[in-house]
Symmetry: C2
Subunit: 166 residues, 2 copies
DNA sequence: ACAATCATGTAAGCAGTTACATGATTTT
DNA sequence: AAAATCATGTAACTGCTTACATGATTGT
């Protein structure tokens, strides 16, 4: 098997596939506009990554010269489609725990007194409610449903936590 | 405010605080034994990170020379305790989404036909069930409860996903 | 005694970050 | 025409990874 895709690479391929063809800028924008703040979608990450994947034969680049400054538009090669499917349908990785900033903290919360634990949990809930309210107005066509069920499941979990902090 | 801790640094401080004092090796072991696979707990990450925090004045190091090879044991300074609490009780960061390999994939799952989506979801559920069974036998004294409620919430979410993939 | 494992690191590489540079377009 | 924003990158830095080196201890 060829070199496995990183999650950022996989997500980038998916963004390009969704659009049929895209520039690095468009991909970066997609990440920057995502409700997840895990990837910043910085140019310094995206442009070199796309280039890398083109060099690996996963993307075809077409130079668009519409009178102005040259620009690269990319679309998936057959290899690229295979790689994308390999990443997208990888059950083992998908079943992993990933990184959860709340879980990471909760397992150590016994280090502070109960009053502070309660205050912390209240703060998290408040922040989370704010986020949920804001995200309700996000556009994000189909991925929105995914995001919203995720938020709902998260809210349920937040409701289960009182028993843990005492 | 001084330099904010990374999540790995915060978690490391918490591990040391829990033990009162610890070597880099012990911290690395704690990460390696965690049910989350997000951090490998490699020596190459942990040893330099602990050193960095000692240089920043968050940790006191004591050289233990029990006849054999010298070894550093660390414990938190007052500054270290402050930094740990700042990290641990940071509601804003705790309320973030983090990185979820399943969510990341789900938002792009419409790129493949329904049959494959169903197969994928079944695979994820199977993998997840395996993990849950395995984790049930993990020791992890108090953090276990956190982990288990997390797994349960996750399982509930997995149950909500059928509606999304059709 | 030898092998396996425990323990303490270092070195090189890689994938992200922020910050910068610069060209083109749009707004005022 | 000037300022703001859109767009295409590059450069330096950081924090993690894998892989290695090596010393000490334990098991057979």
């Amino acid at each position: 098997m060829a070199n496995r895709l990183t999650d950022l690479e996989g997500a980038a391929l998916a963004e390009i596939a969704k659009r049929g063809a895209a520039t690095s800028y468009a991909v970066a924008q997609a990440f920057a506009g995502s409700p997840s703040e895990f990837w910043s979608g910085s140019a310094g990450a995206v442009y070199p990554m796309i280039k890398r994947m083109a060099a690996r034969g996963l993307l075809n680049s077409e130079t668009a010269l519409t009178g102005k400054r040259p620009s690269q538009t990319y679309c998936l090669t057959e290899q690229g489609v295979t790689a994308l499917h390999g990443w997208l349908l990888d059950c083992e990785r998908a079943a992993g725990l990933g990184f959860d900033p709340l879980r990471t903290r909760l397992v150590h919360l016994h280090l502070v007194p109960v009053a502070q634990r309660e205050q912390f949990l209240a703060g998290v809930r408040s922040q989370f409610a704010q986020r949920t309210a804001k995200d309700a107005f996000e556009s994000q066509p189909l991925s929105r449903k995914v995001h919203q069920t995720w938020l709902r499941a998260r809210a349920q979990w937040l409701g289960m936590l009182d028993q843990l902090i005492e």
